[in-house]
Subunit: 436 residues, 2 copies
């Protein structure tokens, strides 16, 4: 039986999962592939630390070159993460004709153009299913299964940590700080959670999805990004009362002549499938012009779910190797020379429904003043909730709107927040109806 | 730019969708593929009837041989359906070295062994994503994205018509006959609905899924199949009251040394994702040993969603052609020589929770008699609902059980149904907790 040599760069949590999966499911992988995958070498800066999986110590090295230059290694799995030395290692491996599998979303989202171009030029595969949505086959679906479609929209819960925190705030009745603490205790959130709660990780993933659906990479700072640190228990509770859930959604949508791309906390109807994605799960709701709604759900992170995606890519590449081909499916859905530039729609042009929570002094005429300013800015009110006064502070007035324009909304809120009757900065949460 | 010739067999609803999709999205398909797909010929018994899409009349023929023998046609799309002449056409096309794309689940489920073996022997692709779950990438996920996993279980809503009827009965408060009528009026159900409501269509799909997940084809009559014609509004309402929904599930599960395969109406918790698959949508809940839960959802039928899957397969095959390879991914997940036989677990060995609705005479001691027989058969009761008496007929007593054994249950019910206090055959519905 044929053998295909693998080299692993990075023996952390996911790397250990890959080693374990190759070992535990080696028999079934061999059956499906008709060949053996042999892990030849593992490189990591620390080869002393004990891992959750046992390996033959002779496989371990601190010298990545022993992976990059080994002629018996056909596929290099990069699980170091971050920008350097991961990028240099990937480029070196390509030059040596090795096919690549990576989960490195940050690197691909920011420097993917260079890496993908180089891989195509050198005729090697660069696979990255694990980089977005963990175990969920979102990359393959965009590149292959749904490749006959124009993508009308893609909405995703792309960060498990933020979703865990929002789920806890919704179901556990705790505030952001307590939910974050719980996520940290469970290992779902880092000591510094910025990357997850500010939507940076989701932005990396959205950038990758945008390229697959619409074309050339866009810089991360070109699209709107807002995290969940401003979400209070109060807004979670009002959302519930209105029949909604708040989720951190990454949204890409085909507009007229331009692509909408944005990440922000979003109120979605409680009956929609996305609203029922709980805990640290990820999910994607795609609308294809032919397929209609497609919904994909699974673990977006974690040792074994991510390893499942990584080894899936390895099997895929091995199948190419057994047939003597490469770059069969373009790494970015289109061959390099066919990739379009993406024209992003300005955030100011967004048209959607909005939720506002005003904090006002309880005085006659307040509601009329606020609704007057909204009206002047073409914003029409769909519902209002006004409850009893609070000790000391302002009284909350909650409104939802019909479809309104983002720049009109900003203008109106800036005028409202300057009113003397307004006690705190108005909270704004965008609403979407995935209609699913 | 390279051109790849396509031939279409069957110009019905799905065929028209394929023609329309190739035309409407030809530009984007060309970009992704880096080549042109050219529809060379369409064969159908009726080329006079008006279709929803306009085609150049010179493409149309009633002679399938003009497709099967045209050297300019590299990929043949079979959308005739049924057994003959579809099977003969597929075999003839293979012999001419043509790659095949089909949506023909009935044929693949019953005669797939022969067709797949022959395709592998002749070195041509035989793709069939559209045959199960319509637009949902379930076949690709089992064969590729999740190929590093052992599949612990696969539960699916695989028939849109049955799901539409059950949704109507649940949300619309109508009985089976009225819901069926509505489905027929909307074109979701055939005049003779047997195929859908008796679970035969779902059985074809389950047979295909079983092969992909576990091995060699099993005959359809080897696994348990029960349709939805016995589901009454009363049971739907009791399910609701208990916090459940009734869905027609096709279930495959890896047991100890044997595979469970069965299709039957199933009570699942209302909060689970599968319970929230409504109308005519399909969905699959997979459990991989590494991936954990993966949930895939979309349109299981319909002109354009099915065309999306068909053309996705065509693009996939075209990518192989452009690289000069075929059979890169085995049509049945494993190469022919590696495929295992499937050993099915007898239905009698099933262990699950049950819902019973007894119809009894309202008389002291009835409950004790029934629960006595259940106890003697190792069936332990989890909950009981007994409501007021009905005019004339028996009184309904509803019970759910803890985990019990199917053969014990059958024994107990057969004893209970012989009791003189029992007025009608007891209704049995199996329960599952997809835990998702």
């Amino acid at each position: 039986m044929k053998e295909i040599g693998l080299g692993l760069l990075g023996f952390g949590n996911i790397g250990s999962g890959v080693v374990r999966l190759l070992e535990e499911n080696g028999d079934i992988i061999e059956k499906r592939l008709g060949a053996k995958l042999i892990l030849k070498r593992i490189a990591d800066v620390d080869i002393e630390r004990k891992r959750s999986v046992a390996v033959d110590p002779s496989l371990l090295t601190t010298d990545a070159r022993l992976v990059l230059n080994d002629p018996e290694i056909a596929i290099v799995i990069e699980l170091i993460g971050g920008y350097e030395p991961a990028k240099s290692f990937l480029l070196a491996a390509m030059k040596n004709g090795k096919h690549l599998v990576t989960a490195n979303k940050a690197l691909l989202a920011t420097q993917g153009n260079e890496l993908f171009r180089e891989a195509e030029r050198l005729g090697v595969n660069l696979s990255y299913e694990a980089s977005v949505g963990g175990t969920i086959p979102i990359i393959r679906s965009l590149k292959e299964a749904l490749s006959a479609n124009r993508f009308l929209s893609i909405m995703g819960i792309m960060n498990g940590t933020a979703n865990y925190i929002l789920t806890k705030m919704t179901d556990g009745g705790v505030d952001f700080a307590a939910a974050l603490k719980e996520a940290q205790d469970l290992g779902f959130a880092e000591a510094d959670p910025t990357y997850d709660v500010e939507g940076i990780d989701a932005a990396h993933k959205l950038a990758i999805v945008l390229t697959l659906a619409y074309g050339q990479r866009v810089a991360l700072d070109e699209f709107y990004r807002e995290g969940i640190t401003g979400i209070s228990k109060e807004d979670i509770d009002y959302a519930r009362a209105l029949g909604y859930r708040i989720k951190l959604l990454a949204i890409a949508r085909q507009g007229r002549g331009a692509i909408e791309a944005r990440i922000h906390p979003t109120m979605i109807p409680e009956g929609s499938l996305l609203a029922n994605v709980n805990s640290n799960f990820n999910a994607f709701h795609l609308e294809g012009d032919a397929s209609g709604s497609v919904f994909l759900y699974g673990q977006g992170s974690g040792m074994m779910p991510t390893a499942s995606a990584v080894v899936g890519d390895v099997i895929d590449t091995a199948r190419d190797l057994l047939k003597g081909v490469s770059c069969r499916v373009p790494a970015r859905a289109c061959p390099e020379k066919m990739i379009d530039a993406i024209i992003l729609a300005p955030m100011d042009d967004l048209s959607t429904n909005y939720y506002f929570r005003f904090s006002v002094i309880d005085r006659p005429g307040v509601l009329s003043k606020i609704s007057g300013i909204l009206g002047e800015n073409n914003i029409s009110i769909a519902s209002v909730i006004q409850k009893g006064r609070r000790e000391g502070g302002g009284v909350p007035v909650v409104m939802t709107t019909h479809r309104a324009n983002e720049s009109d909304v900003r203008k109106a809120l800036s005028a409202i927040d300057r009113l003397e009757i307004v006690r705190e900065k108005t909270v704004l949460i965008r609403m979407e109806d995935p209609n699913l």
